[in-house]
Symmetry: C2
Subunit: 384 residues, 2 copies
């Protein structure tokens, strides 16, 4: 295919230093909770074809979402996700906008009529947000278990709570990003199980068949912000309230293969690259092993020290988000500054919690956790 010459644009450049792509990119270990570190090969691939995707002479960001190239790209990303998660038949995969936060409202809009009952487990701030948005949708929210007594450092023991018979679904947050609290098991539920997997999806194998609906903002393990993946059992579709915005209506979006309106095409494209990276890295079994090892390394360092502490009940400690405190909080700033200087960034704890938090998603290699542990050990030693 012939190409038009590189016609001059009105402004030929935006002031920026020239960077040779042959340079090895200078990268830090980024412990941000989301948006979060992405696999470097994914970023490099995206950068290499940002102006010319697959020989098209256009960026993937510039092509029609309804053209055959992007349709194939989206189908490929969905197929990879299905393979990786071993999603059974009878589930739809949707690519939506608005992050998990839009889903807090979309879920009751799609799955309930006004006045019906739903059950939630409250294990932290993200559970609480989901509960608040559900209440605003005029459903009767029963909080079947509330871990407030432990200051949200625990998950409810299996069998220790009841879900009302009339509950249209049971919603829980498998991994609370802020508190670093992760369910070690999938709750039993007679009602369809609905789960906000934003900060732990694709971190280890998952039995999707246990769930009615899984949702996740992409910006931890699945790419950049701006995309929410919804995996929903087909029998739950089709009774959305008439006032549900079309772009949050699961049945309408499913019918349109997530393209009722323009999807976030660049995020879908990156999801495709990330899912391929996961497959090339050994899939969720291998991811799970690596993540378990990373978490163990860090918790051992914390537990083996009198200087650092993590408050979470051991069985509920998150593999993805590790909050910890220093014995002397007045040293927090110095700890963070030294970490930054050592190339260990975004360790500051959530603004509502203080202290430190290391998020160690899929893209964080074990070398990064070792570097953090080495830094923590050395910092403690200098303060002894």
């Amino acid at each position: 295919m012939a190409r038009a010459p590189n016609a001059p644009q009105q402004a030929d450049r935006i002031a920026a230093p020239a960077i040779s792509r042959e340079d090895v990119p200078v990268r830090v270990y980024n412990f941000s909770a989301g948006p979060a570190q992405m696999p470097l090969p994914v970023l490099e691939r995206a950068a290499s074809e940002l102006t010319d995707w697959a020989g098209s002479g256009m960026s993937v960001m510039e092509v029609s979402h309804r053209g055959k190239d992007f349709v194939a790209c989206a189908a490929d990303a969905e197929a990879a996700l299905r393979r990786i998660l071993a999603i059974p038949e009878g589930y739809r995969v949707l690519f939506l906008q608005g992050g998990a936060s839009a889903q807090f409202a979309a879920i009751p809009m799609n799955l309930t009529a006004s006045g019906e009952t739903v059950a939630y487990l409250n294990t932290g701030q993200w559970s609480a947000k989901a509960i608040a948005e559900a209440r605003a949708q005029e459903v009767e929210v029963v909080v079947a278990a509330d871990e407030a007594d432990s200051a949200y450092t625990t998950t409810p023991a299996p069998g220790s709570y009841e879900v009302p018979a009339e509950a249209r679904y049971l919603h829980y947050t498998p991994n609370e990003t802020i508190g670093g609290v992760e369910f070690p098991e999938i709750p039993q539920s007679h009602a369809p199980l609905v789960a906000d997997f934003s900060s732990s999806i694709l971190s280890r194998p998952l039995d999707v068949s246990r769930f009615g609906l899984i949702y996740a903002g992409a910006q931890k393990n699945m790419g950049p912000s701006g995309l929410a993946v919804v995996i929903v059992r087909e029998d739950l579709l089709g009774r959305a309230r008439p006032s549900t915005p079309s772009v949050l209506d699961y049945a309408r979006m499913a019918k349109a293969d997530s393209m009722l309106n323009t999807p976030p095409t660049f995020a879908v494209y990156l999801l495709g690259l990330i899912t391929h990276w996961i497959e090339e890295s050994g899939g969720l079994e291998a991811m799970g092993q690596r993540n378990q090892a990373k978490a163990a390394l860090l918790y051992q360092a914390i537990d083996g020290s009198d200087f650092y502490a993590n408050p979470v009940q051991e069985r509920s400690r998150s593999w993805m988000n590790v909050p910890f405190t220093l014995a002397d909080p007045s040293l927090d700033s110095e700890f963070l500054a030294g970490a930054q200087a050592a190339g260990l960034t975004n360790l500051k704890g959530h603004r509502s919690v203080g202290g430190m938090r290391a998020s160690i998603y899929n893209a964080m290699p074990i070398e990064g956790v070792r570097a953090l542990v080495d830094y923590m050990t050395e910092f403690e030693r200098t303060k002894a």
Copy 2:
């Protein structure tokens, strides 16, 4: 700041051809209606820093939206938008997800109570979608003008319609992307004016003070898909229905500087680059002059030929989207194939309309329009 070594990731690469960045990117003229062609300097800048933004050792996609670097980036993009559009005091600028389509529902949710009356002008398919979503929000939609009689090739003459006194707002679609119909004037309205500017925002100067609310999906003149910009007069905030999803609640998002939840950070970053490109290209006055010249060139070629035709009333012809038909539709495929081979892509008309459509947004240089006109002239000559 010291950097961590470039630690090996689990999978070191994703199979891709090596591309040297010193190569001139091979680019086509892309007439896609959205997602659409973006300015090449913007894409090149983004590519050059995709793995290391502003010396941070992280991509802009990997940083926390609440960190000082991204907060500054978003503030800069907003400030540039305010300068370019000369947005007066008393307006908020919001960066939301869900595109314009989410706004079709968000607008009645935010601006009306159930049962109130609103007025819409119907000039094409996007007007119709907005009307349908408003009706689903249980407002009384009065279609004050409906251009069905002209098969949606006209805009209603000023003064030819009435807006009910009780209308909470008058909504119109300044540029219908599919029909190529653009209002040559801003409607008069006693009710606050609400406008879907998705396909014409930033194409020429605009008197924002005439409007209560302007909204636009970014993926024509403002970047990639996944971002909707909402410019809303402050007096219209604060009476959103309680069941409005938080991420679509203007007052709540305004209070949080569009960061109630995680915004689409890469799209906001690109918006910043694009607004700077617009300023460096002479702002909206210069954009308007260039766009007017581009459109004139193409319409003259169509009108000066018996082979091509455009159905739109002359005063309402869009500067952004130019649909046209061939005298013999059986030649459509050949026309498209030849155009593709000549580096003129995405000329196929909307699936609901057929024929051809050239979208000629800001990033399409006049050279691209000349190349198209040359191709059209030659194609006609060979068919004579």
